[in-house]
Symmetry: C2
Subunit: 193 residues, 2 copies
DNA sequence: GTGCTTTATTGATCCAAATCAATGAAAAAG
DNA sequence: CTTTTTCATTGATTTGGATCAATAAAGCAC
């Protein structure tokens, strides 16, 4: 059932015991979402981390009624409003399916129980948090130092899936620009070659 | 000696044993840096996390020979090129003292030994990584959704110390703009009141 | 399929920041 | 204290993206 997730864990923390993994499995629930459906709502405390088995998901941040795309997540990546999940404060971020999506969801209480029952699991928590941090670091450097045009070029190279499977107006939001600006950037890039 | 750091730990992980704390202390070294001095160099693997006892430090990212300020850190905050520290790859970030600074430095090997000898210490690692992540999340949202002018206004409110103790051209870099642009933003803000 | 809604493109205008350049102010070095 | 270097400000010009508006294309529902 959770083969892809198990594979992910094997790589992340190979020394994790079979007992811990078995207990962890029991904390998971499988969920299916239709394209456009809300997975986790902005405004209330977020209690889940989602491992995406199939589909694409976007995480956004509602500011002045406008959805700012924080990031896209694909098959075999995990996501969630990690901030709300950790702080137990109402989420600033919402999560929505961009395609029909299947996720394995881990509930907050389940994770806390894992930490309590299997102290070794703290290590997984640490590695996951560190991974999240590293991902953010890159995005941050990109937002700080690169122009929108460079950001788009790099995105296409680094995550070609995004350009292929995600609508442009969402990519524009992810890049921090308007759809019009992205359209013009694309035009410029085409005439470059 | 490490009172301020101990206080920080008490808040972060109150249940940490005295044994673990004692062992941890032994991993620390005290360092002094003059204003302008390099604490950790970009380009080589970073082996330290610094807890700042006194002074201000900046973390930057060298791109095309230009220092992009990632962040400033003050008394009783910790810093380091966490990315390089975690991945064991050459650092993309350098660290430099903005004022005369005293730090308590934790070496990578010391931390790994802590994890090995005191599995409970993984929890500290997790909480630290989570804290780093949360900090970055905010900065990210700010870079994505706010205009430089708003970013500056928010910075002045949230971290008045920065505006007071850090030169403007560094703040400009932190905001992702040129010193000229910041100078004009400040002018605009003054005439606002 | 037809119509309806959403998304993408293009044009025109406006604005904030980048860039280039020069001067003034402040800090560091001697 | 004086000189030198670094930092901050101001001006002129350029540029890329925002905004407003209109049209074209693609998706979706019926």
């Amino acid at each position: 059932m959770f083969d892809s997730l198990k594979l992910y864990f094997r790589k992340l923390a190979p020394e994790l015991s079979q007992d811990a993994w078995n207990a962890f499995q029991k904390c998971l629930t499988v969920k299916r979402y239709k394209k456009g459906e809300t997975i986790s709502e902005e405004g209330r405390v977020n209690n889940i981390v989602c491992f995406i088995e199939e589909g694409i998901v976007m995480v956004y941040n509602l500011i002045d009624g406008k959805k700012n795309i924080y990031n896209f997540f694909f098959e075999h990546e995990y996501t969630g409003d990690y901030e709300s999940f950790l702080t137990r404060k109402p989420a600033n971020y919402g999560i929505e399916a961009i395609e029909d999506t299947i996720t394995f969801n881990l509930h907050y209480d389940g994770l806390q129980k894992m930490y309590a029952d299997f102290p070794e699991f703290e290590r997984v928590g640490r590695l996951v948090a560190e991974g999240q941090f590293l991902r953010l670091t890159e995005r941050n450097a990109s937002l700080l130092a690169e122009k929108p045009e460079d950001r788009y070029e790099n995105l296409v190279v680094a995550k070609p899936q995004v350009a292929q499977r995600v609508p442009q107006y969402l990519i524009a939001s992810y890049l921090g620009i308007t759809p019009e600006a992205l359209s013009r950037i694309r035009k410029r890039l085409v005439s470059k070659f």
